[in-house]
């Protein structure tokens, strides 16, 4: 049976290559002119090219951002993408808003499998793919290390993701699905010189769409009125160790390595109940600010 064509989309983010974080202020300095793909996005593009090569439904690249972001679409076109779409979006929007914009783009493209990079070095946390899956009501495989398409040519994937303690989780995914891949999972092929030249200058067939200004999603509602602060781990007050101890014992006491703490608990529950118990635990540890 001839497998049905599946369109693959790769969602790319234009990041600065020269990102520095000021150690004192947490301020991120970016160098706009030289911006490009993160390692994870390069891997995502490579996986997308591989899957599109098998499924014959074409490869669309999309990004959410202003005009300079089209640079990553040029890269994708040079590498072999057949369609490119920029969803116009202001910079520095929260993950949920980026995902919503991308979801609008993916619906327009009609792609069934979406691949993203996992984390980016500009404080990208890898949360966009999860939001994206939620918006598209698609299955999600996040933080993947390897992907194996079904050998029968059907649009079915096996994917491996990293778990704690060196364990791996093997997922079986069917479209529609959203995948995010780690940077080490694939090396982006080098584009041919003619393809690079053809995409280096002049007008390219990059589609642009401006999504209707939507109502703010839950994450944005949470952010309304909140001051945006650079991310820092929460501080904890720790009592000074007994000064009579020797230095090694004091360090051990500070780490809390030998003191009693609550044993690890595995929660088996519905997603909603599971999420609630995670939030409860975080609250009880003082990690969540209400």
């Amino acid at each position: 049976m001839e497998p049905a064509p599946v369109m693959v989309a790769v969602a790319l983010k234009n990041i600065s290559q020269d990102t520095r974080i000021d150690a004192l202020t947490g301020e991120v300095e970016r160098d706009e002119p030289s911006s490009a793909l993160s390692r994870a996005d390069q891997a995502a593009l490579e996986w997308a090219l591989r899957l599109a090569g098998i499924w014959s439904g074409g490869l669309a690249a999309l990004t959410a951002g202003r005009r300079p972001s089209e640079r990553v679409l040029r890269t994708a076109l040079a590498a072999g993408a057949s369609r490119a779409l920029r969803v116009d979006l202001a910079p520095e929007r929260p993950s949920e808003a980026v995902a919503r914009a991308l979801a609008a783009g993916i619906e327009r493209l009609g792609a069934q499998v979406v691949i993203c990079g996992d984390m980016s070095p500009d404080r990208g946390s890898g949360s966009v793919p999860a939001y994206l899956a939620a918006h598209l009501s698609a299955a999600q495989g996040l933080g993947l290390l390897d992907i194996k398409p079904d050998s029968s040519g059907r649009a079915k994937l096996q994917a491996w993701r990293r778990l704690d303690g060196g364990r791996r989780e093997l997922l079986t995914l069917h479209p529609p699905c959203v995948l995010s891949v780690e940077g080490s999972s694939a090396v982006l092929r080098r584009s041919s010189l003619p393809a690079v030249l053809a995409t280096s200058s002049g007008a390219l067939p990059i589609e642009v769409m401006t999504p209707a200004e939507p109502t703010p999603g839950p994450a944005e509602l949470m952010a309304v009125g909140a001051k945006t602060m650079p991310f820092r781990p929460r501080t904890h007050l720790i009592a000074p160790p007994d000064p009579s101890l020797d230095p090694l014992q004091r360090v051990i006491a500070l780490t809390g390595a030998t003191s009693d703490h609550a044993p690890a608990k595995t929660v088996v529950a519905d997603p909603q109940v599971g999420a609630d118990s995670l939030l409860d635990a975080l609250r009880s540890w003082g990690e969540l600010q209400e």
């Binding site: 090569g53 584009s191 010189l193 280096s200």
Partner: protein, 466 residues
């Protein structure tokens, strides 16, 4: 999945992209590989200047850069003199990335414990038309390459030229091979601005012999300091900068040192001639460490936090090491043609790169218009260099590199001059002051310099710099 690896052929959409460059003659990339009028290899100052000139004249120009952005492979040791851009980019003052305008230029000679400084300051250099600037090369080179792109050149980054293409019948150079799949780029003229190691000029046979003594190694540390601290230590107003050139600080290895100010960092380093560096078995970074610890330098660099360490070769041999500049289908400019001027008190490279690159661009444009790209058609390049400052300065200062790197200039004279000053300013009461002539003769003798040598070097210096 091996069957889907490797470069995909151009797909429908790529093929349909066509080419919409502002120039009348467009790059061809659809059939039998890529081609253009001129392939410029290296998007440093020389290459970008050449590409800018050619793109303005309407030729299709491909500017190849092996780094992931222009300037990513480049470092320099001091000051950029951008007034060479007046003709090329009259509005360069508006947006050129500048760290500080140099208003203080000091030449320092030192021994292990002493130093003597000729310190010139002028506020005139801090306002238009300006003189010298400090800058970060990755920013400067990216800016200049951006000007070439605005003019219509196509910049292709992350692409290394691995060799020359030759016409099988005439043997003339007709393009470059790159390390991309399907990477042959055919061009009517190739301009090699591929830096001091210029593998292209060597492959073309333009370098007759490679003498390591024509090359120096520059090693540099960039040290972070608050701009206010820099201004206080160097006695500068905001926006103004200092540049120190130092002799006698390289542990007996022929060379020199430098210290200059960026906006909120200092750059300090040494430049040493290769054969003597190798023979000394000294570690290059130790020489920088020693310079930073010198009593004349240490207070200036104190508490600076290292933010970037770098090294680069410099072609310092001047006119005597220059390769043939032209052959059929090829021009060489910038460091690739050893255009760097290292003549003691003058240490300049970026302006010579821009000057030679622009001249190469003009000569190539003229040759293309004449319909030929053989060596004869390209000969206008050398004429242009002879008539502007590039070769005129090199010809005038031809003897300078040897003189400056000579043993007496490196070791004896710094010692002599420092001791002389020490003698003049040391008060040895109750002994009376010695006469100046007596001091000169005494210190010359102590430094092992004969009067004949002194006079001979003075005469050479006069002929070189006069």
């Amino acid at each position: 999945m091996s069957d889907i690896k490797g470069p995909p052929p151009l797909n429908e959409s790529q093929r349909s992209l066509g080419y919409v460059v502002p120039n009348t003659r467009s790059l061809q990339s659809e059939h039998d590989g890529a081609s253009c009028d001129v392939a410029v290899v290296g998007a440093g100052p020389a290459g970008s200047a050449a590409a800018l000139v050619l793109a303005r004249d309407g030729w299709s120009v491909c500017l190849l850069e092996r780094g992931s952005y222009p300037g990513s492979k480049n470092m320099y040791g001091g000051v950029i003199y951008p007034r060479v851009l007046d003709g090329l980019l009259p509005n360069w003052r508006e947006d050129m990335p500048v760290q500080r305008w140099v208003t203080r230029r000091a030449t320092m000679v030192m021994t292990e414990t002493q130093s003597l400084t000729l310190d010139y300051r002028t506020s005139a250099w801090g306002s238009p038309p300006y003189n010298g600037a400090t800058s970060f090369r990755p920013e400067l080179d990216r800016w200049l390459a951006g000007k070439a792109v605005e003019a219509g050149a196509v910049l292709v980054e992350a692409t290394t030229a691995t060799g020359l293409l030759r016409d099988p019948s005439s043997g003339a150079i007709c393009g470059v091979r790159t390390d991309r799949p399907d990477g042959d780029l055919r061009a009517r003229i190739v301009i090699a601005c591929d830096g001091v190691n210029s593998f292209l000029a060597k492959e073309a046979g333009l370098y007759k012999n490679l003498d390591p003594s024509n090359y120096t190694l520059g090693i540099k540390e960039v040290l972070s300091l608050p701009s206010k601290t820099i201004e206080d230590r160097f006695g500068l107003s905001p926006g103004q900068g200092a540049d120190f050139e130092i002799l006698g600080c390289t542990g007996g290895i022929p060379g020199g040192g430098f210290l200059y100010t960026n906006l909120d960092s200092l750059a300090v380093g040494v430049v040493v001639r290769l054969p003597e560096l190798a023979a000394s078995a000294r570690r290059p970074e130790e020489l920088v460490t020693e310079l930073k610890a010198h009593p004349g330098i240490a207070p200036l660099v104190r508490d600076g936090e290292l933010i970037e360490y770098s090294a680069h070769l410099i072609p310092e041999g001047g006119l005597d090491m220059m390769p043939e500049l032209v052959c059929d289908g090829l021009l060489v400019a910038g460091d690739a043609a050893a255009m760097c001027l290292a003549a003691g008190i003058w240490l300049e490279g970026v302006n010579f790169a821009i000057g030679s690159g622009a001249a190469a661009g003009e000569a190539a444009s003229q040759a293309l218009a004449s319909g030929s790209s053989n060596a004869r058609a390209l000969a206008g390049y050398r004429d242009r260099l002879e008539s502007n400052f590039v070769l005129a300065d090199h010809r005038k200062l031809r003897r300078a590199p040897h003189l400056v790197l000579s043993k007496r200039m490196q070791l004896s004279y710094p010692q002599l001059m420092c001791n002389l000053m020490e003698g003049v300013f040391t008060v040895e009461n109750p002994s009376p002051k010695p006469g100046l002539t007596k001091l000169v003769l005494r210190e010359a003798k102590r430094s092992g310099v004969s009067l004949t040598e002194l006079l001979s070097d003075a005469w050479t210096a006069f002929r070189t710099f006069g």
